[in-house]
Amino acid sequence: MKILVTVKRVPDPESSIKVNPEGTGIVESGLKWVVNPFDEIAIEEALRIKEAQGDVEVVVVSVGVSESQEQLRTGLAMGADRAILVKADRPDTAAVAKILVKLVEKEQPTLVILGKQAIDDDSNEVGQMLAHLLGWPQATFISKLTFAGDKASVECIREVDGGMETIAFALPAIITADLRLNEPRYASLPGIMKARKKPMEEIDAASLGVDLTPRVRIKKMAPPPARTAGRKVESVDELINALQTEAKVM
């Protein structure tokens, strides 16, 4: 079996993000970049399947700038078998999904595992779009994955509003990982050294013959308004009044 796992290069969630003066994006210089945390969970899940089933190849894939190699290397150090980098300049979610379709056609995986969303723009779209384009079953926001005895289908628990949903479906399929699916391992030193010898293929997005024209344009980016200081009120009445007339939340 082959599992394709997506890995996106995103700013470290701990870094303080500033919008650039032109309001077209964020200031990228000096930022620390990491593997999207939900993608780490996706990698971990693929590795656990490999450890449980043996004959599984885990391929990590990233679409983006050449520096995304660093994040792919972390995936390899965690234990993935090989990596593919598709070089593309700021593709939007639709373009990423279309690129992934090409890779799926080429690699023929049984399972594609993605993080449920990337923590940079929180779009939460690629997995769904990919499933649609391929016409494959999908299970998003999963917190548990179990293979059926014949390994031809899986059962997933999805985290949905107000509860859990259990669904079963045939493979091949698309899965997007939620926070509680597992706790990802840390890259080990021996793992890092082994990763050096693992193959990393580079593909130019333009060579894949897909339409990369962005469908989404960022018109303006602005930081959320700064929080203003709180204020003490004298009585419940005054509080209710303030909530109604000033905050307008009641």
């Binding site: 210089s29 000096g30 290397r73 840390y186 030193l189 021996p190 050294m193």
Partner: protein, 602 residues
Amino acid sequence: MSDTLVNLRDIRFVLYEMLDVEALTKYDYFADYSKDTFDTVLEAAYKLAREVCWPSYAEMDRVGATFDAKTGETSVPKCMHRIWQAYKEGGWGGETAPAEVGGQQLPACVAAATSLMFNAANTAANMYVAGAGGAAGLILSFGSDTLKKVYVEKLYAGEWGGTMCLTEPQAGSSLSDVKSTAVKAKDGDHYLLTGTKCFISSGDHDLTENIVHPVLARIPGAPAGVKGISLFIVPKYRVGDDGAVGELNDVVTAGIEHKLGIRGNATATLNFGDRGECRGWLLGEPNRGLAYMFQLMNHARIGTGLQATSLASNAYQHALQYTRERAQSRKISEKDPASPQVPIIKHSDVRRMLLTQKATTEGLFALLAYAASLGDKELCSPDEAERLAATDMLDVLTPVCKAYGSEASYDSIVQAIQCYGGYGFSEEFPLAQMLRDCKVFPIYEGTNGIQALDLLGRKVVMKNGAAFKAVLDEISKTVAEASRVESLKDMAVKVAAASDAVGDVTAHLAGIAMGGDIELYMSAATPYLRMFSRLVISWLFLWQSTLAQKALEACAGDENYYKGKLGTARFYLNNELPHLHATVQILKNGERTALDFDEAWF
């Protein structure tokens, strides 16, 4: 609370731009590495430090290591087990160890960076790892094949813990007074040890199935003093030649210290051989023990500098974030009391405190990583002259790393707390713990007083002053380079003048020693060390400035970083370096008040 721990950009500058770590990969020993792998290693270490080690920092202190007098068992805080597991799974215990014993052969200067991260996150925790690695290194260097086979891999892999047992109640600074004894057994290849060791870091715990103690002791009939001390490997539980752990080896924990800081690390008093059944195996030759131990100690002294610097780095990152957020008062020019208060980072006195910390932590990391890189050269340069030169430089710089590293770091954390005002004094914030933790570094691994004696009494005069002169020569090279950069000329002049002054006063002191007043000579040791350290740090800043200026001229991007580096260097040279000249004056004046002060007058 800041989660930054250390300045990652500065670490990359030091490793890649200043020390050119990539060049090490041309040596066979490091050929498996590349810049990419170094990056991944740094990334992995930082992630582990921040996500696993740092969240337990407070718990290590609050819970601390505990000793149950009834059972005689020592336990570490629960969080420590998880950290140990993570270190073990990650292979971090064997970071720099050779591949043939399961290590990763990482260059020591890259390991200096990961050590900065791990110690910044949780230094008491990291000491358990360092202990095991230290014991393994000793056995690997000096042990018999059997000892190597039984112990080395297990220690690096984190299966077993390790310590270093030097100190005894009557032998702290004065190791020549060690009196533990080791008598050759009649029925085997081992010795029987008796004695008490105190203040033993990671001396007992429940992390591993065995703990391996390298112990200094005397064989009956050995010469008095340092020439009669041997080194033994003493396991807590006896081990068969097949590595199987057997019965207790008559090593008994009498208790652990209740300490000011690093409370998560068990500092144990160990009784060896109360029942006459404590077996130890001689390492190397008899009576050479202290020399062997010094291989480990020299390494550990740089490690101590790193521990201290890491805490100062973390404290600085906290202070930086805090002073950007805490609003208090207005600019002096603002007369309107109704105008909003400004973040305190806008006040020049706060910026002075921040710059002091920035200069201390960056200057010290440059020194420590440089020292580690000398170790890499010593290990793998094919050129014998280069290897010897590296050893000499390292000999001179080691006491600077340990003593100035620990002292300046402590002072730096004091400044960080000052930036926090009253909140810094509160245990609610982590800075108070950092200060408490940091106080041990001027004390252990040989007190800073002993380091100063080592520098002036041994290192400055060794090889007729050649090693010391080698450092001054390196400084001249950097000065020459910087003098060619227009905007750095004034800084180069300052460093050159400082170097000359240090050379001068060293010759002056040598005259005193040669004249026979050795007491006066040695009484200069601590001010001398501080003075020399300021020269060394200024030199490294000048070196860094040259690189930063070139990067700016080449428009390599990252302008704020490079301008910050130049400003920090200038701050150190303008504010810290001048103290050197005061010390020079004091030493030239033949200051001897402390020496002559009658004890009855105290």
